[in-house]
């Protein structure tokens, strides 16, 4: 089977890339070894966060935020997005000091989306918060969406523009034959002049096939969701002193993440909750919202994601092979970036350059460290 671009990985990055390419009349094939959005794309916490991003990610994140606000124009669905802001609370002076420094850094880079608020405004925004907090870093234009609905919308739109998608198709071998990439799978061979690696927690295998191994480490951040509660909080809440992401969804459930990691078995594609660590997330919630102690946990889970040593992704062209590109390693905060990453890749592929600075994400940045997995 032949197309203009082969995309490995049927997650958000893969479909966003395919969608942006298809919008410019490029024929794409998206292959996934399992089902679409099975891992990071489908089961992440859905945060649309510019707040507290790595400086290298800020330019992308700010553009992405704008794309999410108009996401319906892109994918014909609002992806269940809401924009009540995100806050990162400080419980003591030292934490507030750190947040103030952070806000200053963002401003010094020329961005205005983060600001410090004092206790009055914090408690006006989050009256349910335990009374000991003294301020917060806030990004008022942040929010959240529902990842699987977003994935479904991206996939639907991409397919409506002619993108071919095939599930249960694992790429066993990659080779470049003249100016054509050939992917071998049990379901046959796929060919195209351009190859894109959006294979998430398995992207290092594809990169290795291109001769550029990367120190990717799979991880599975744990999450839990509670029973439905009457509406009591608008913004997404994090804390300077806790690994925590806390939000009340549209249906009243609380979605609690905290980047505490599950045990994982990459081969079986299984994760197992580490209760001792998940208890830390529950304790963080108890510190900030002690009134929630009798709220029932309905479900816990962990999706497999790709982490890089510096916790920022790989985005850009291959340095060992021609006409090959990567976008992976989003280190548990890729959801928000997905629309812009698709756009960047489509520009790299069709125009040879991107309007946004992606040099910090180049794949060979690990080469000198000698820590290749």
């Amino acid at each position: 089977m032949k197309a203009d671009v082969l995309i490995v990985g049927g997650g958000l990055m893969g479909f966003s890339t395919a969608l942006h390419l298809a919008m410019r009349d490029t024929r794409c094939i998206v292959l996934d070894k399992g089902s679409p959005g099975r891992h990071a794309s489908g089961v992440n916490a859905g945060g649309l966060r510019q707040l507290n991003r790595h400086p290298a990610e800020i330019p992308l994140s700010v553009v992405a935020a704008d794309m999410w606000r108009h996401i319906r124009e892109l994918v014909d669905s609002d992806c269940d997005t809401r924009f009540p802001g995100q806050v990162r609370v400080a419980e003591n002076e030292a934490e507030l000091g750190r947040l103030e420094k952070r806000a200053a850094l963002t401003r010094s880079l020329g961005y205005q989306h983060e600001e410090i608020i004092g206790p009055d405004e914090l408690y006006a925004l989050v009256p349910a918060l335990a009374p000991h907090c003294i301020g917060a870093l806030i990004c008022r234009s942040d929010g959240y969406g529902r990842p699987f609905h977003a994935l479904d919308a991206f996939r639907r739109k991409a397919r409506s523009l002619g993108v071919y998608y095939q599930a249960d198709t694992r790429v066993d071998a990659v080779r470049q034959d003249g100016d054509e990439w050939r992917l071998s799978t049990l379901q046959g061979e796929f060919r195209a002049p351009v190859l894109v690696n959006c294979a998430g927690a398995w992207a290092n295998h594809i990169a290795a096939m291109l001769g550029e191994p990367v120190p990717l480490k799979p991880g599975a951040p744990m999450m839990m969701v509670t029973e439905r509660l009457p509406h009591f909080i608008d913004p997404v809440l994090g804390a300077a002193g806790h690994k925590l992401s806390f939000k009340q969804m549209q249906n009243g459930t609380l979605l609690i993440g905290g980047a505490h990691m599950a045990e994982l078995d990459l081969l079986q594609e299984r994760t197992e909750i580490n209760w001792q660590k998940l208890a830390l997330s529950a304790r963080s919630v108890m510190t900030l919202f002690p009134q929630l102690k009798d709220v029932r946990i309905v479900r816990t889970w962990a999706g497999l994601e790709a982490f890089m040593p510096d916790n920022i992704p790989v985005i850009g062209a291959s340095v060992t092979a021609s006409s090959a590109y990567h976008a992976f390693g989003f280190s548990a905060h890729g959801f928000q970036l997905s629309p812009v990453v698709g756009r960047i890749l489509s520009q790299l592929i069709l125009d040879g350059t991107s309007e946004l600075p992606i040099d910090p994400f180049r794949i060979d940045r690990f080469a000198s460290s000698g820590r290749c997995a």
Binding site: V225, A279, R296
Partner: protein, 464 residues
């Protein structure tokens, strides 16, 4: 509480009691974690405390539990009543809730004896207050002597429905009608299996006796009932159905439904044990070997939780699993394990004779399993209808988990216990795929209620 046990048995019905008793007799350390207040499971519920007269209303099969419970009480097995198991994983770490305190403990061998649950079959109006599972009605009766005073309508299929009608009859409850939805065609399919079933003839005799008693008491049993529908505004007011081509309507405030039982598999699935679709029993069950071993090392399943076999069969399966656990622990050698297993294996085989007949005889019609009516809610927690599930399939979501992701069905507090089977049937039917390929919801812990406060207070013996 100790942090580690050689053998953990989960559940104290016939399988759990037998497993724990056999294992404890061999001198190993056994803990039994049971959600109930006293041993007996569902079938022998309240065995030790039930008044004599109510016990005899329940029939002599119930009395058999006494022996099991007293042997267990006499053993050295440590019994933890009112202990909810909310998690089990492949490392055999068990999450427990004991008097409001969450714990995790580990075990070298785990025998899951989770028993059966009633098969949830969504039909129009099934979520109305006043419509109850027959099993829930039976629990009220066994444990508390509570019976509906204005009479009941019973509907569904399976031996338990008959038994419950009989028990109600003896307790003086008015049974307005027994609506049997079993399709007549089943008799044809069941017939070839009758000769083997006759080998376990006492079950058939018992069933016939129940039927005779009901008839003598003037309770009308309508067979081949179709298009069952519960009606009412805020609560059940009447039941309508088709019988012999005629639409009928019965006024009632209580409708007890029962569509047979299926293995309660949540714990084994959350532990990662492989499950298979059983076409004869129309349910998912763990893939087990002849000892009850699952695909996960050190985790076994015994009793109805591994496939419906009934209480006596569960007892034997419990002993076999215990023998295997003892062998794995090095307490028994191979030859002893084989020798001690011989009788249970034989008796278990005898118990199994009746099953193919019962399964064919009481098989639910496909249109009920596949929830033909689009407006019927399948997932009552998240309010997802059969039509929405079919729409998701038509849209290209072709397995249970994709449908769950998209529609949220199975994501509510019951964790899919109420809708998993129905969703499998609907998706298989709508996509034209085999049930085995549709798959089952990936089970997420906790499988029993756990609060944020309880998790925050998780007491780990390990970290002390």
């Amino acid at each position: 509480m100790k942090q580690h046990y050689q053998l953990a048995v989960i559940g104290a019905g016939p399988a759990g009691l037998a497993a724990a008793t056999v294992a404890a007799e061999q001198g190993i350390e056994v803990a039994v974690f049971d959600g109930q207040v006293a041993p007996g499971g569902q079938i022998y519920r309240a065995m030790e405390s039930i008044p004599q007269h109510r016990g005899s209303q329940l029939g002599d099969e119930y009395q058999r539990g006494r022996e099991l419970v007293s042997a267990f009480r006499a053993s050295s097995a440590k019994y933890f009543p009112e202990t909810q198991v909310w998690s089990l994983n492949g490392r055999r770490e068990i999450g427990l809730l004991l008097q409001g305190q969450a714990h995790t403990v580990t075990a070298d061998q785990v025998v899951i004896c989770s028993g059966a649950i009633e098969r949830p079959v969504p039909f129009p109006g099934w979520t109305l207050p006043g419509v109850m599972n027959a099993g829930a009605g039976q629990i009220l009766f066994k444990a508390h002597g509570i019976v509906p005073d204005d009479g009941v309508v019973l509907a569904g299929s399976g031996p338990l429905l008959l038994l419950l009608a009989w028990q109600y009859l003896h307790a003086g409850v008015s049974v307005k009608a027994l609506l049997d939805v079993t399709p007549m065609i089943n008799h044809l399919y069941a017939l070839p299996r009758l000769p083997r079933a006759l080998l376990a003839g006492h079950y058939l005799t018992k069933g016939m006796q129940y039927k005779r008693d009901l008839k003598r008491a003037g309770i009308s049993t309508l067979h081949n009932v179709r298009s069952l529908r519960a009606q009412g505004k805020d609560a059940l007011q009447s039941v309508s159905f088709l019988h012999r081509g005629r639409e009928q309507n019965l006024e009632t405030a209580v409708l007890l439904v029962h569509f047979g039982v299926i293995p309660h598999t949540q714990l084994g699935r959350v532990a990662g044990c492989r499950h298979v679709w059983d076409e004869s029993q129309l349910c998912w069950r763990p893939q087990l070997d002849e000892w009850g071993r699952t695909s996960v090392a050190g985790i076994l399943v015994a009793g109805d939780g591994g496939g419906i076999g009934g209480a006596r069969s569960a007892e034997h399966a419990g002993r076999l699993a215990a023998l295997q656990a003892l062998y794995a622990l090095g307490t028994l050698d191979r030859a002893t394990r084989q020798r001690l297993a011989r009788n249970d294996r034989k008796w278990m085989r005898e118990e199994s004779h009746i099953r193919p007949f019962l399964e064919a005889f009481f098989r639910i019609a496909d249109d009920m399993l596949q929830v033909a009516d689009d407006d019927t809610l399948v997932c009552r927690c998240e309010e997802v209808s059969a039509g929405q599930i079919r729409a998701a399939v038509a849209d290209g979501h072709r397995d249970s988990n994709q449908v769950k992701f998209l529609t949220r069905c199975g994501m509510g507090p019951c964790q899919g216990r109420q809708c998993a089977e129905a969703v499998s049937h609907i998706v298989a039917d709508a996509s034209g795929k085999a049930l085995q390929d549709i798959g089952h919801y990936r089970q997420r812990p906790p499988v029993n209620p756990l609060t944020l406060g309880q998790l925050a207070g998780l007491h780990s013996e390990k970290t002390e």
